[in-house]
């Protein structure tokens, strides 16, 4: 049974290494943003956003999510939404106390 990506795809070593290099650059960026307070008040938010980009790259390329079907991507979104819902509704309590 072929998986949704068509299991014969082999990603070139070049591509993996390129992603890795970008990840290291982003690591440096997130460090810079935080330490140099590049975004002032939004430094933490900036660091987290960069972290999300890094996570996205790992998901898309190392974990092949880019080549998987819409369905799996949808389920990941569902999972993250569940977590978001949990955190969000808890904040509805804590924020407004």
């Amino acid at each position: 049974m072929k998986d949704s990506s068509g299991e014969t795809r082999i990603i070139a070593t070049r591509a993996y290494v390129a992603v890795w290099l970008v990840l290291l650059v982003l690591l440096a960026a997130t460090l810079a943003v935080a330490r140099l307070q590049l975004l002032a008040r939004y430094s933490v938010l900036g660091s987290l956003l960069i972290a999300t980009v890094k996570a996205g790259l790992v998901l898309a390329f190392f974990m092949h999510l880019k080549y998987e079907g819409r369905f799996l991507k949808g389920l990941l979104l569902l999972t993250l939404s569940a977590l978001g819902l949990f955190i969000g509704l808890t904040f509805a309590d804590v924020w407004y106390r």
Partner: protein
């Protein structure tokens, strides 16, 4: 005994395979979903019985507080009653028993997607259950926090909390793996032609339940871990003196435990959706809506947990949001109730035991659901939270819902699982006792709660005595009913008449294979060309 199936010479899945010397090893090492399901069924019914005895004794104590047990013991009793009934019986409940036995068959598969993980789930269940029971007997005292293990008491009480909580953790992992297995099975193993909207309703509910098991149970896992870390290492996330917040415990706990009630009730509704068409000889009314409502209940059910905490100190904003969404979740449930009744309407009704129990479900679950709306409203909740009204409500939906559905499923699938029939007469006598006892026992709790009787209280002022006495007497009828029901079924296993493959004239795939099924479900994988409830071409029911 139960070894022969319809075609002579074809052994059932009970027959010894000869791979192991001891039968018990053969069964414990089996990866056959039917064997695993049967073992689970025996286990959950055994634990249910223990839980019933505990409940029976709790009611007995409440006749005259102090005559049977002291206050501390009483706390331990209701804690263990809850832990056993919830974590060892009703949450695993229908998925692990009927789900395991019938899911692959209903979708035309030979087994689940991951049979060895299924076996692991079973082993984890046994292990977790034993660890929980261990907490009753090892040094220290049985847990006394209530099944909800609220912090800070659960962090400070000297009782055997860590053991009990570890057991529940292991059980949770078993549940997660079962959900994962079933969801993958439904995605990957449907027979050719078995499109999503040709699948019967029961697999749909198992699918929705699987997602709840996968996404909600891990939150319980981490919460239980926090309890253990609090007890052993003083990690004080829920301890105000260390900056923590006990309400956060409640948030995390109910984040799982509310979706958990949908783990309990969705498969139960699936069983009712299977029984009602068969015994009214009509297709399930609004089949697509019934399937979609299962998903709807699962999804909306993730966002209502705060209704367990309306009096704990949450913000008004949160309370309003949770109350509103709680009302929303009643809508898909209502869709199902409506569609079952519409299926029955003008159907050719045979009020055999399965339908008797199914109709009882509809009646009882409706009462439970409606009282849920009452306590889902903020203003009444302030008075009713922590009273017997709540106890009545959840027994109506959990016991009167999932519990009755298990009884319905037991009677419906009894011939398929055992190859025999029970006595219809004793099934009805048992049902009557059970039904009458149930409502006396639990309806009186609504009255008691409305009058202000708090829950989990060992004793009470004299004005509540009549209500308690009535309730306890109801428990005697209920217990008698259960004894008759299970006695009838047990007798049927050993002495019942042989059952044919399709005694009810059902249209789903399990009725096309022998009773009991052979080890390999289908000689040839069926090719599906139509939906599950094709009653247009009515056949005469096979005579038993």
């Amino acid at each position: 005994m139960v070894q022969m199936s319809e075609s002579p010479g074809e052994a059932s899945f009970y027959a010894r395979t000869g791979r192991y010397r001891w039968a018990i090893a053969e069964w414990m090492m089996s990866t056959d979903h039917k064997r695993i399901g049967v073992m689970y069924l025996g286990a959950i019914l055994s634990f249910f019985s223990v839980g019933v005895v505990l409940g029976f004794l709790i009611r007995l104590s409440l006749l005259d507080p102090g005559w049977l047990m002291g206050a501390q013991t009483y706390n331990e009793f209701f804690t263990v009653h809850g832990v056993i009934q919830i974590f060892l019986f009703i949450i695993p409940g229908i998925p692990v028993a009927f789900g395991n036995i019938f899911l692959p068959i209903l979708i035309g598969a030979q087994d689940v997607a991951f049979p060895r993980i299924n076996r692991l789930s079973w082993w984890l269940y046994v292990t977790g259950a034993l660890i929980v029971l261990l907490s009753l007997f090892i040094k220290g005292s049985p847990p006394d926090t209530g099944w909800t293990f609220y912090a800070p008491y659960s962090i400070r009480t000297p009782a055997n909390i860590s053991t009990a909580v570890l057991g529940v953790f292991v059980l949770g992992f078993s549940s997660i793996l079962t959900g994962l297995n079933f969801v993958t099975t439904i995605h990957r193993m449907r027979a050719p032609g078995m499109r999503w909207f040709r699948m019967p309703a029961f697999p749909w509910t198992l699918y929705a339940t699987g997602w709840v098991q996968m996404l909600a149970t891990p939150v319980l896992a981490i919460t239980l871990l926090f309890i253990v870390l609090g007890r052993f290492f003083g990690v004080g996330f829920f301890d105000p003196s260390k900056g923590g917040d006990p309400i956060l415990y409640e948030h995390l706990f109910w984040m799982y435990s509310h979706p958990a009630v949908y783990i309990m009730v969705l498969p139960a509704m699936g069983i009712i959706s299977e029984i009602v068409p068969v015994f009214s000889r009509r297709a399930l009314f609004g089949y697509v809506a019934v399937c979609m409502s299962a998903l709807g209940i699962a999804i909306v059910g993730y966002a209502v947990w705060g209704h367990h905490m309306f009096t704990s100190g949450m913000s008004d904003t949160a309370r309003v949001i949770f109350s509103f969404i709680t009302f929303l979740v009643a809508v898909p449930s209502g869709v199902k109730i409506f569609n079952w009744v519409a299926t029955l309407y003008k159907g050719s009704i045979s009020l055999d035991a399965p339908l008797l129990f199914a109709c009882s479900f509809i009646f009882t679950f409706s009462i439970g659901g409606l009282t849920g709306l009452i306590i889902g409203s903020l203003a009444p909740n302030l008075h009713l939270h922590g009273t017997y009204f709540i106890v009545g409500h959840f027994h109506y939906v959990m016991f009167g819902g999932a519990g009755i559905s298990i009884l319905a499923g037991l009677h419906y699938w009894f011939p398929k699982i055992t190859g025999r029939m029970y006595s219809e007469r004793y099934a009805r006598i048992g049902w009557l006792n059970f039904f009458v006892g149930f409502h006396i026992l639990y309806f009186s709790m609504f009255v008691l709660g409305f009058q202000g009787m708090p829950r989990r209280y060992f004793d009470y002022p004299p004005q509540y005595h009549t209500g308690h006495a009535v309730s306890t007497m109801g428990s005697w009828f209920l217990a008698l009913g259960l004894v008759i029901i299970f006695g009838n079924l047990l007798y049927g296993i050993f002495r019942g008449q042989r059952a044919p493959a399709n005694p009810w004239g059902g249209k789903t795939l399990e009725w096309t294979i022998p009773s009991p099924p052979p080890p390999e479900n289908f000689r040839e994988i069926p090719v599906i060309t139509r939906g599950a409830y094709h009653y247009e071409d009515e056949e005469v029911r096979e005579a038993p």
